[in-house]
Amino acid sequence: MILMLSSASTSITVILIVFFLFVEGIGVFSKKPIEEGFLLAVHPSNTIQKLEPTQIKDIFDKKITNWSALGGKNEPIVLFRTEDITEFYSEEELGENFEHFPAKIDEYITRTPGVIAFFSDKYKSKDFHGKELDVNKITVYKFLSGEEWFPTAQPVAQMGVKPLILGTLWVSFGAILIALPIGLAAAIYLSEIARKRTRNILKPLIELLAGIPSVVYGFFGLVVIVPLVQDVFNLPVGETGLAGSIVLAIMALPTIITISEDAMSNTPRAMKEASLALGASQWQTIYKVVVPYSASGITAGAILGIGRAIGETMAVLMVTGNAAVIPNTLLAPVRTIPATIAAELGEAASGGMHYKALFALGCILFLITFCINMLVELVTNRNSHKKH
């Protein structure tokens, strides 16, 4: 009864967590990415009705300087932020407590045809003559393919998670590229070459690696690997994707080694003897009999290793430099999904756009690890099927 209760409550908790994650995460797509209490306005004669968040960013970055580029009239764009008001009106005109502020903004907008103004709701006069611009909601596609992650940018937040997803995959891929050969070599050594006594000492030691807290790995990465990467590649900073990959590789090694070693040790003795009796050398036997026989175990170990690498937060946060740019080399700083969530959730306003976007990131991460776990299940099932 107690057993049933505990298993039931565990499953319910898991389902609740996932449900909560998705409810919050999906919220990002139903909100406008403009900060609450602010608005964007243009001259009443402007034909533009709606803009994409990225377009607005380009306007305020002065990358788009004419309305015609957005399908409007041929009119140069004039930027206006609240603080610019003092350039056009003196303090006396605005009043002692800025009581004339709304009227002056209205006046400025109506007399400047190419204007786009970003200001607070409370400065919007009652008989506002300007035209309020609508901002498009973020679509799933834009969210996933957007290349800029500036969740607190003004006037409009940029919620492109592509750099984060790519950063995560990039670092994990690098980690597996480093960990797989080393892990495989170690597993072969332990199961096929090492003496029993050596193995009995080494294997528990390797398993112990899995129990070290990830912050400690982070320390190690920061103190040893980051300076090393910086020196070897002569970089301005050592906090790069490569440093993250190396730390993650070290963390994934115990999983890969333990699981592959178990699979290799399960190779029937008869198979190995058959191969050796035919005059095959030990190495030929290893790569022609042992490795193929334990291939699915090795794959499972590697995938589980990646799974751990993708979800890893602390160590990665400490060594990758956390720049949300699309990585084109392992020697540039990258930012991963878990590191983003850990670093930003504390400063995101609860219930706000940024907050929800981080939950959406959590959903993406969950989906990735979920797929990885399914893959492991598939591989190991295929294995047991083969043996019967």
Binding site: K196, E273, A274, S275, A277, L278, G279, A280, V289, Y293
Partner: protein, 250 residues
């Protein structure tokens, strides 16, 4: 000259002595049966002849074993080459999880033969040698596990023959087979005798009587009696041999 000759062989698993002072010689192109109760050391002795016991931790050997006049436990012996010359068939059929063709081709490939024509010729010849060709010629690319136990064991013999050894060791090759398959394997051993020196471990004394020229009786790690098979079974010199072959113990 004897094909296989062992002189005062003592063999230890850790502290336990498994073989005591075994001296045994076998002529070329003969079949020698090793008989005796379980744990008597006959399989251990067989596995010394292709150094299979090297795989077991903490074993060591005193004495000398010569094959073709060469001490196989000398430091300069290449174990892989030795095993190419001394093929082995195991107690249970142990084909690789590969196709029938690949199972036989494996030994050729690991021994550096890359010419596909040569490989194919030898594979076919070996399968024909074990009288399996008619049964498998249409399914060479199917998994070896689809064969029956008896067919698998003959495939394993073919696999051993493909690399053209001169000695063939058989460790109770029919203990996992039904009577008909057993008869086929025995027939095969009889045919192979003309070209190979065969050493076979068996629990089955009728089998020893049917297939072998000479028989060695092992008991408690010692070689009790070694003689022509006919003599050993009809007129044993030692009482323990007499008791064993008449079924009084073992």
């Amino acid at each position: 000259m004897h094909k296989i000759e062992s002189k005062n062989v003592n063999f230890y698993y850790g502290e336990t002595q498994a073989l005591h002072d075994i001296s045994l010689s076998m002529k070329e192109n003969t079949v020698t049966a090793l008989i005796g109760p379980s744990g008597c050391g006959k399989s251990t002795y067989l596995r010394l002849l292709n150094r299979m016991n090297d795989l077991i931790d903490k074993t060591h050997l005193n004495g000398e074993i010569y094959i073709d006049g060469h001490n196989i436990y000398a430091k300069n012996t290449n174990v892989d080459d030795l095993r190419k010359n001394v093929g082995m068939v195991f107690q249970k059929p142990n084909p690789f999880p590969k196709s029938i063709y690949e199972n036989v081709a494996y030994g050729l490939k690991v021994n550096g033969i890359t010419d596909k024509k040569v490989i194919e010729e030898r594979v076919i010849k070996s399968i024909e040698q074990v009288a399996l060709w008619d049964e498998v010629k249409d399914k060479l690319n199917k998994s070896a596990f689809e064969l029956s136990g008896g067919q698998q064991q003959r495939l394993c013999i073919a696999r051993a023959l493909a690399i053209q050894p001169s000695v063939l060791l058989m460790d109770e090759p029919t203990s996992a087979l039904d009577p008909i398959s057993t008869a086929k394997v025995e027939e095969l051993i009889y045919d192979l005798k003309n070209n190979y020196t065969i050493v076979i471990v068996t629990h089955n004394m009728q089998q020893a009587g049917r297939v072998s020229d000479n028989t060695a009786f092992f008991y408690m790690g010692e070689l009790v009696e070694y003689d022509k098979t006919k003599n050993l079974f009809t007129n044993p010199r030692k009482e323990r041999t007499q008791n064993y072959i008449t079924g009084r113990f073992g």
